[in-house]
Subunit: 246 residues, 2 copies
């Protein structure tokens, strides 16, 4: 048995279907001709963590001990970096990053980079996300710094279509979720959005395109791309070290 491989740690379960979607996209996005070409991952998918958006909006830190416990389990298992397929959980990203020696990838930064690098030079993008992700400015600051305006749903649309749509995905009612979320996306396009960030990992489960043709940014997939880039870098560095020490 050779040395243990470089393993990605996934702090997941937020929600669990989004974590399964992340894993599928990770496999599908990795160039491979056989099992052994794929990225090794440990996944901590423990959905009993309190709702991140509700907690943040209520000024509660309730998710933190659950996040930290998950991080510690992934560290003990031997993870080499951490990915969190949940946008809202990134409100605790800096504290997680400060609590570990491991690199904690950032879904918002990876996605904001994809928006600013888009060939259509988007100047105004819509953001569909939990209310906490919007209020916590996970996307706003990076996009404003790059000169991109962010348009969000009005309060009523946010409540009745986006938040309700995300809850419907979590309840397994994907068809109802798709209808609500599609209407919210249309309103953002009417409000001038030239692209839409699916800034909650439940959203790509039901939205893959929009009749208007504006690009949708699948943040699950953009996190997957960041993970693959990390893995290639970590694997190459490890090979160099092995060559030097052998």
């Amino acid at each position: 048995m050779s040395a243990a491989p470089t393993v990605l740690g996934v702090l997941g379960g937020m929600g669990p279907l989004a974590t399964a979607d992340f894993m599928r996209k990770l496999v599908e996005s990795t160039p491979a001709t056989k099992d052994q070409d794929h990225m090794p991952v440990f996944v901590h998918s423990v959905p009993q963590i309190p709702d991140r958006s509700e907690s943040f909006l209520a000024g509660s830190d309730a998710p933190w001990p659950f996040l930290l416990a998950g991080l510690r389990i992934l560290e003990s298992a031997g993870a080499g970096a951490i990915a969190i397929p949940c946008n809202t959980a990134h409100l605790w990203h800096s504290r997680l990053a400060a609590a570990t020696q491991l690199e904690v990838l950032h879904i918002g930064r990876a996605s904001a980079e994809a928006v600013t690098a888009h060939p259509e030079a988007l100047r105004r993008v819509g953001l569909m996300a939990t209310s906490a992700t919007i209020q916590g400015r996970i996307y706003h600051d990076a996009l404003h710094a790059a000169g991109v305006d962010v348009v969000v749903p009005c309060a009523r649309d946010q409540h009745e279509r986006v938040s309700a749509g995300i809850a419907a995905v979590k309840a397994g009612d994907l068809a109802r979720a798709a209808a609500m979320l599609d209407r919210a996306a249309s309103q953002l396009v009417d409000d001038g959005a030239q692209g839409i960030i699916l800034g909650c990992t439940e959203l790509p489960l039901v939205l893959s395109d929009h009749p208007s043709g504006v690009p949708l940014f699948d943040t699950t997939h953009l996190l997957v791309k960041a993970c693959i880039a990390w893995w290639h870098k970590a694997t190459a560095a490890r090979r160099r070290n092995e060559t030097i020490s052998s």
Copy 2:
């Protein structure tokens, strides 16, 4: 933060797409209205383990140290039982079960039970699986004991359609895999199979039904059902204990 929940340990990565499929089916099969209703899982998906079928057929025990290392990580992470979404890996099931205090669920037993309990009282079923699963009799003994005949592909079909189809799934070429595997299934039906066991977790990724209308047994889904039954039992036992001790 309440006590840690009862967590399922998944010894996966064999292959990684089958593990992602298992996770999605686990979520979809769990009655839930919110994230917190879902089963907590810790997944060890490390595809660098040597090919189980090739090793078994060559008389090699090469996968064993990888399986044991994965089991130990799942134990350390706090798993309460182990599920392995790979039929061929069950050739090492009894050794894994002997190496741990945890219950190790058995995909073959769960699936053979579903076959014998089928309302059509099937007397003859086809088995699509790796050559090692067939030679290692993961399904034969339980089904024969229940009076069910097992029909397997001829050597040429096994090689050119089933093994090649499984390899195509692992290489991400799902369309080509589906065509090969569908032909192998048709031959089994021509040979008198009244139902077909998809006895490799790569198969349900590309086969969900068959034009003949014979029932297909998705062993990934049948393992999921066994996991949910375990979880309900373990959670109920835990609640009883908490009531007694409080």
